[in-house]
Symmetry: C2
Subunit: 356 residues, 2 copies
């Protein structure tokens, strides 16, 4: 297995000179071998999940096992795609350039169904919290507030029903789209390339002598640069009321202020995958990265939930009470966005451990 | 003037034995004299403001000068009433028991007009902020969010117009109610008692020998007890989402969770007035008390603004877009409530300076 990646790569660009400005690896430095091993492992996992999904996927609703299979299919697809990107110079260029968008298309298609289900859960949970129908955390002082009373108002109930209809419909459509994608020739082409990857990673000739750390470090630098562009000073001041600005502005597009945070979320993921490549399976989980990643996931989920509430409120002929509840819900989720930025700022400012 | 308060108090309960468990005053301790001086000064200020208000009050809208006069009339009424309460045992009991509710009625009546005006300002300002039509604070990173664009949406504009109608009407009614009160025989009775107070404070015989600090200390203790009952642990965790619980609950009454905070606001005020009595005109402003008081005022204002948005949303036959905007506005103000609690917790935990 060790020399398998030493075979000259096949394909049009066989023997392309590596464009990587990388130093010769020192003793014990992670080299191409580690990358090949990681990619083979992820490709194998991809194929395993695919088989599992084929066996369970056509079960109605794509729930349970089939859902797990889709999740781990996405998981390995993201890791393969991310590694192809971070370590591009070490891989057959044409091959990886062709493969990445296909993997992105696949994991995107598979992600949607789960996303709609999670969004609906989040919104219904929030509606219950806002109606005081769930118990509050321990130390919340005055009795009256701590004791949930009353139920959903008519408005909250109608808002919940409306969101349920809209997001369940979207989820069902996403499910059939995912099944269709998995049956498409486009998907079979992806699966075939992954199958190749599972046995033979198209490394460039010099890759096996190349220290992986500079490329992993570059991924970490891209992350650091993007983070330094975030408004962390504002985010570090609780209740800065930043996230709800434009909460009532006329344009219905996703809030532009969210974009840099979403970008950091993606770069953080690439950095994490690069660390997996370098350190192989067993390496210390970086609590700081974990916390920061959790905060950015929450940021993304809350932002999308807030947008869903806003768009539900644009449904024609809804009752004012329903619209009011959706307005409260939208603002609540935008404050979740603000809270997530605060949480990220708190996690990020913790002592950084630079271990690419 | 110094011996004026030594005259035997007039009135039914002349010569009532003091019920205060106060030690004989040590050398240099603030005694009844200080209380009498403070009450006389506040009474004089009350009468001055009253004259000013009479000269300007009937100007349409009660704006400008007349508004200032009403404000300082309230200011001195609150201080007289508060001091009568804190130092009750040193004053003719029947007289002060009779006077306090009348002063409360007066300042309450005079306060309403200003309160409605301030509430409308706060809500319209928030609507503009939520529509991204006001500039954002300095360090807010990504350009798009920082550059205000678009205007008020139809919903936000209609919500603003609705709140304007409702709160302006309430304000006008409060204004005529205030003018009526100032013309009533009930008010003239209050004014007469204050006039008496300006020349002759009905202290109990022993008051002039009594150390004021124990009674002032008791007021401070009542404040401390009420604060210790607040959910400050929760309040100290940013984004605890506490204030919006019940944001959609069926009952439309003011949120019970706000009451203990409003109570602390009143006790903080009594403590401040007691310090004024002890230290006379010139004494160091306690930044901690000031910050805490500001936070509690903001808490009260935001809570009432949130309630106004919610009740406007119950107006029959409003458009869904209007209701949606009012829902966002309500949630925004409830988050202001939460932010104010956080600010209070931050101010309060600062090193306490015990100076009754």
């Amino acid at each position: 297995m060790a020399q398998q990646h030493l075979d000259p790569p096949t394909g049009p660009s066989a023997g392309t000179a590596p464009t990587v400005p990388a130093p010769p690896a020192q003793e014990g430095a992670p080299i191409g071998d580690a990358l090949a091993g990681y990619l083979r492992a992820q490709a194998t996992e991809f194929l395993r999940s695919l088989r599992q999904h084929r066996e369970t996927g056509n079960a109605a609703g794509g729930a349970g096992e089939s859902g797990d299979a889709a999740r781990s299919l996405r998981r390995s697809a993201r890791r393969i795609s991310g590694s192809l990107h971070t370590f591009r110079p070490l891989l057959d260029a044409d091959w990886s350039e062709a493969m990445r968008p296909e993997l992105a298309w696949l994991s995107g298609t598979l992600a949607r169904e789960h996303a709609y289900a999670a969004r609906l859960d989040r919104l219904l949970l929030a509606l219950n919290r806002l109606s005081g129908t769930v118990a509050l955390p321990a130390q919340t002082g005055p009795g009256p507030a701590a004791a949930p009373k009353g139920g959903l108002t008519v408005g909250a109930a109608k808002a919940g029903a409306l969101l349920d209809r809209q997001l369940t419909l979207a989820r069902t459509r996403a499910h059939s789209a995912a099944l269709q994608a998995l049956g498409s020739s486009r998907f079979h082409a992806v699966a075939d390339s992954v199958a190749v990857l599972a046995s033979e990673v198209p490394l460039t000739p010099a890759a096996d002598l190349t220290d992986l750390r500079p490329l992993a470090g570059a991924a970490q630098d891209r992350l650091a640069d993007a983070v330094s562009a975030l408004p962390l000073v504002t985010a570090g001041h609780p209740y800065n009321a930043e996230a709800l600005v434009h909460g009532l502005s006329a344009d219905t597009a996703p809030q532009p202020q969210d974009a840099p945070w979403h970008q950091v979320r993606l770069l953080l993921r690439l950095h994490r995958y690069a660390r997996e490549v370098l350190h192989g399976g067993e390496f210390p989980v970086d609590g700081r990265l974990f916390g920061a990643g959790q905060a950015l996931n929450r940021h993304r989920d809350a932002a999308e939930a807030a947008a869903a509430a806003a768009s539900a409120a644009r449904t024609p002929r809804i009752a004012p009470a329903t619209a009011y509840a959706l307005g409260v819900l939208h603002a609540d989720q935008r404050h979740e966005v603000e809270a997530a930025r605060f949480a990220f700022q708190q996690a990020w400012q913790k002592e950084a451990v630079r271990t690419p």
